[in-house]
Symmetry: C2
Subunit: 352 residues, 2 copies
């Protein structure tokens, strides 16, 4: 419990507006809420609006919430998303849609909370929320606080480990992985290595499925291709690429994400090879300020974080009834310069 809390300044109330307009407080309420079912003379309506504008009236959400149990806040529960690069785009997209409607986002991060944020959720509920949006950096099952029963719950890039979700929003990792892989297979690459993220990770498994299907579509047997796993970090991309390239001499690397792709790029350089002349590289995520900035520009499948957030926002504003249980958003393939034709002849033997 907190010991104290700061107080705000005196604020303009509906009663102030009413006095100024020479009407009663309920009349002001009717006008400002545009209650067309209650008759208000046009002249009165004008006076009220004018007075409200002059006084810069801002409705007291606390009073509204107390009286009507109508909330204008969206609770956002994230685990590490705020602190991670670019995934905050989910929150940004959500805000873009929701703010113009007068809503505000209350963001709570559960990263370092052993209780998985149950307390944080309790405080959100205490504040009163119109809906709760769980958002995750990487798609995975998330603990859903039991205190949320009866509250609209939306999962973005994650799904409830237990309990219920009104809607689950995910990126199409499979199709993205397939498109990314196809971008090299279609160019004629045959010796392609898959440098995945974390082996048991949902995204990694889906992207590998996509990779394997793209290989099959190209007439190859996935089992004949090299698959390795890392941890989505630059360093692991560097290490895996160093190993795989020197051992198997592939002509293309399909990486678990853009960070691993950068690691692979550095590794290539360290080995005296050039991208895409000697080896092509494909990333995943289209990480802003990275995929487009690196030299050569990275061909990659874009994770639609912003769009996921926006769709979530639309759900919040819409009626709970006509919301779908599941929404899948495409991962667009962004083609840049890191993929080229396979080199004419093999550069070195597969093994000493």
């Amino acid at each position: 419990m907190a010991k104290k809390a700061a107080a705000g300044p005196k604020r303009v109330t509906m009663t102030d507006v009413a006095r100024r307009a020479g009407v009663s407080q309920p009349t002001v309420s009717f006008v400002l809420n545009d209650r067309r079912d209650v008759a208000v003379a046009e002249e009165t309506r004008r006076r009220v609006l004018e007075a409200a504008a002059e006084l810069e009236f801002v409705p007291n959400r606390a009073a509204q919430l107390l009286r009507s149990n109508k909330s204008f806040t969206v609770g956002v529960v994230t685990s590490g998303i705020v602190s991670q690069p670019y995934a905050g785009l989910i929150v940004l997209g959500l805000q873009q849609v929701v703010q113009p409607a007068g809503y505000v986002c209350m963001v709570v991060d559960t990263t370092d909370d052993p209780g998985q944020g149950d307390d944080a959720v309790a405080s959100l509920v205490g504040q009163g929320v119109a809906a709760i949006v769980y958002a995750s950096l990487a798609p995975k099952p998330l603990h859903r606080s039991p205190r949320l029963d009866g509250i609209r719950t939306i999962f973005v890039n994650c799904w409830p480990e237990e309990g219920h979700a009104d809607t689950v929003l995910l990126a199409d990792e499979y199709a993205g992985g397939r498109a990314a892989a196809a971008s090299v297979f279609d160019r004629g690459h045959r010796e392609v290595a898959f440098l995945g993220g974390m082996r048991n990770d949902y995204a990694c498994k889906e992207r590998r499925r996509g990779f394997d299907d793209a290989a099959r579509a190209a007439g190859l047997r996935p089992a004949d291709l090299v698959h390795r796993y890392g941890n989505y970090q630059i360093g692991s991309g560097y290490d895996l690429a160093t190993d795989v390239v020197s051992e198997h001499g592939p002509t293309a690397l399909v990486c678990g994400n853009d960070r691993m792709a950068i690691g692979a790029l550095l590794a290539l350089h360290a080995l005296g090879l050039e991208c895409p002349r000697d080896v092509s590289i494909v990333g995943f995520d289209d990480q802003p300020d990275v995929a487009d900035q690196v030299r050569p520009g990275l061909t990659t499948a874009a994770l639609p974080h912003l769009m996921l957030g926006r769709r979530a926002g639309e759900l919040v504003l819409s009626a709970p009834d006509d919301a779908p249980e599941r929404i899948i958003v495409d991962c667009e393939l962004i083609e840049r310069d890191s993929v080229g034709d396979p080199p004419r002849r093999r550069r070195r033997g597969t093994r000493p």
Copy 2:
């Protein structure tokens, strides 16, 4: 205005707790707020706490706010911070401090708002906030909404363009720049180039001041050293490094941030040079998952975003009176592997 807003479920109120404990609602209020100045029998107190726990009572912040004008929310106004890599650490640090005290952060991003977020601020004020924290990705002057008069205002990594701030929190960019530069001068490098961020940017200017002073301390004249400016992106680091290295053949590059340092690293590779054997590189920011992951690990000055956020949180919880007007937080030098001794002999002429 929004047309509708979702309603929450029925919640446990103090009156429910009171009924269960066989006391009146005010008594519950006294107990739960630990009002020691009001006498409550120990036995009664116990019963109330028990009932509250059993019913999982969560105080209705809206009612508290309405009654006492005491808010448990902190309004956070950011411009692009949520969507940018790692700078969300400011928000995270803020939350870490503030959440245990029962506060929740309402985050509003003004990135794409032509009105600089005045509307957003108005909605924050409408919600009722204990304080407003402005947070910026890069240190710069920010527009302060006039509607905030009377509300506690804290600026993190920015300062008010006009109007008043209770406290301004900044990183010590000058000292950071100086330490970063010293890390190469102290090793004996003399031909050092400064690859800055945006020329007129506050951080860039401060870091350059630090760089120049470090040069003087090493017995060099800053005017004799190469200074170039980019835009903090990987690509600009790549381009500048390519130019500077081939034209002047420096033994060390002091970069505007870690992204530019990565660009420089890539450029070095492309030129057939190695870091730190041929050229040392220093970054700025200590960008998580990048500076430590890149090969070689980047020596860099750490931007104390998390700490800035935490300090802001402490301010929010403290009394407004004893808050300092200005807080400067150190940028710690993180030494990794991208800085080495200067090469014995010059690798190439300075000019053709």
